[in-house]
Symmetry: C2
């Protein structure tokens, strides 16, 4: 296939990361088209020493495009992805718009690359918290089927977009100066504070972020009988998510076996130094491709050595979004 690439949402945090990663990885594009809302249309952007003019994202944006990377929010994906597909492009969509649509593959290349082939024009990129949890959990599940998973997240501001990252810094300045705190991009004060993820709460009491983690994991693992429960929390961190993951396996498993499986797992870096108390932190994962894993321990509250606790950190904008989408695009070629 050809390689004319459109980026929809190029001015956002993920859009900007698309550009960095495409450049770093020497993505073999023949041309790029930079798309954003009318607000940004006409602005100039320099990429790989070439100047581009940002065009407004419309249904006519995709003529001649082979791959369209979308990160402009779910409503824009719903509005424009079909036009990209009609124009002959394959859409790799970073939003939640199509993730649970039955004939849209939902892909983490380290886990289910085979699903890419089944696409009918759209491939969905999973939620950031889902990706960061399951990249290290998948090799364990393959070796010893997971029965139950209890996850608590520590999610960065970046998940709420670039404006939220800037606002977190602004809020910190305000708190330090004893001033009232600005809450526009963020629903509540995040600086020196934290809050339950403010996506809509369903009738079962879980927010959308928590249910995404449950449903997307089932779809990506092609295994809907793993029992999963999540608590999603936004913390005062800029751009890397951490997660506390408690796993119940079918058969006994030791921390040594887990460490061995993760040491050779794609996309995973084990950082688990008990002696010097050195485990994954958001600043370790920031700007890195891999998901960092540590605090690998037997969970003695589960009988027969079938329980393991993990602690993970992954860059939300990178592996949680832009990198994963570009890995999918690379496999399309």
């Amino acid at each position: 296939m050809g390689c004319n690439v459109a980026i929809a949402g190029v001015t956002g945090a993920v859009g900007q990361e698309f550009l960095s990663i495409l450049s770093e990885r020497n993505f073999p594009a023949t041309s790029y088209r930079m798309l954003a809302s009318s607000r940004s249309a006409g602005k100039k952007i320099t990429f790989q020493n070439k100047e581009y003019i940002i065009e407004e994202l419309t249904r006519d944006s995709f003529k001649g495009i082979d791959i369209a990377l979308f990160s402009a929010g779910a409503s824009r994906s719903k509005e424009f992805a079909s036009a990209a597909v009609a124009a002959g492009a394959v859409v790799v969509d970073n939003s939640s718009a199509f993730r649970m649509t039955p004939d849209v593959p939902l892909v983490v290349p380290e886990i289910n690359p085979q699903a890419i082939k089944q696409h009918k024009g759209i491939i969905a990129n999973p939620n950031c918290s889902t990706i960061i949890a399951i990249v290290p959990v998948w090799p364990l599940h393959k070796a010893n089927k997971i029965k139950r998973m209890v996850v608590s997240t520590y999610q960065a501001a970046s998940g709420a977009g670039q404006a939220a990252m800037l606002e977190l810094e602004e809020q910190a300045r305000e708190v330090l100066a004893g001033k009232p705190v600005t809450c526009k991009a963020l629903k509540y004060q995040l600086a020196f504070n934290l809050f339950s993820h403010n996506s809509a709460i369903g009738p079962n009491g879980y927010n959308e972020e928590e249910m995404k983690m449950v449903k997307e994991t089932h779809k990506i693992f092609d295994c809907s009988d793993i029992a999963i429960t999540c608590t999603c929390i936004r913390v005062a961190v800029l751009r890397a998510h951490c997660e506390s993951i408690n796993l119940e396996f079918t058969d006994p498993i030791t921390p040594e076996e887990v460490r061995e499986l993760l040491n050779t797992a794609p996309g995973v870096t084990v950082l688990d130094d008990r002696a010097s108390n050195r485990f994954p932190m958001p600043i370790d994962a920031t700007g890195k491709d891999n998901v960092f894993v540590g605090r690998i321990r037997q969970d003695e509250s589960i009988p027969d050595n079938r329980g393991i606790n993990l602690w993970v950190a992954g860059d939300q904008i990178r592996k949680g979004a832009a990198l994963n989408a570009i890995q999918i695009a690379e496999r399309l070629l």
Copy 2:
């Protein structure tokens, strides 16, 4: 009993909170003696419109003292508590020194006030994360025995002392100014970051904080067959801990039953507004006596409706330390 009170460690974060709470609650002391290390001895302190001179904590500090509130670290408690007891005082010790000593009661007044009577001179105040978790968990356990508990903490800087709180603010200023970050009181960068609790890691891979939560809960509940596993994390928050708590009960239980039990539980405030996505945050709990509870949900990953998820927030310096100790002292009178 009489009511001459000594405060050992009066200059620390908890010591200062002792003073605020004693004053707020009109604690019926006849006299106060303010004790600290030699570094602070001779300094003046004003309390309830009276000036006190801080005295050096020594084995001779306790003549005539009836109640000694200790919050000067475990090694000072080990060195000086026996002298206080020998002088006829009852020690309420905020450190970890005596918590697991068999004949020392470990008390949360909302849970096991009856244990106070069994003291032989020393009563231990539990770890802050333990107190904040179990104040709301106890009324549930009484109604329906808990089989297993999975906890992930979001702990404030205050747990590492006053210097750590100041350093978190200083680090935030440094990060915002693009400067290198100072790590003296805190082992790693905490501003715009978080890290695994840096207490010593035992042979099973759990840090001391995590094992305190397990062992202290068993002792306070007088029930060592609850299976408990914890992951303790320090976050960029000043003085209130949050915890994500997953509970497996013996019998079925609904979120409505949990809410009803917690609505009348002592020391608990339910803040669980799904419609407006308003749940406990550290800044809600800061300066408050009660533990705030929200995100009360059925955990559908546990069969037969025997699972519940909770989210709690409690002031680490207050209910997690100073308030609990003063509640014990009040019951001694």
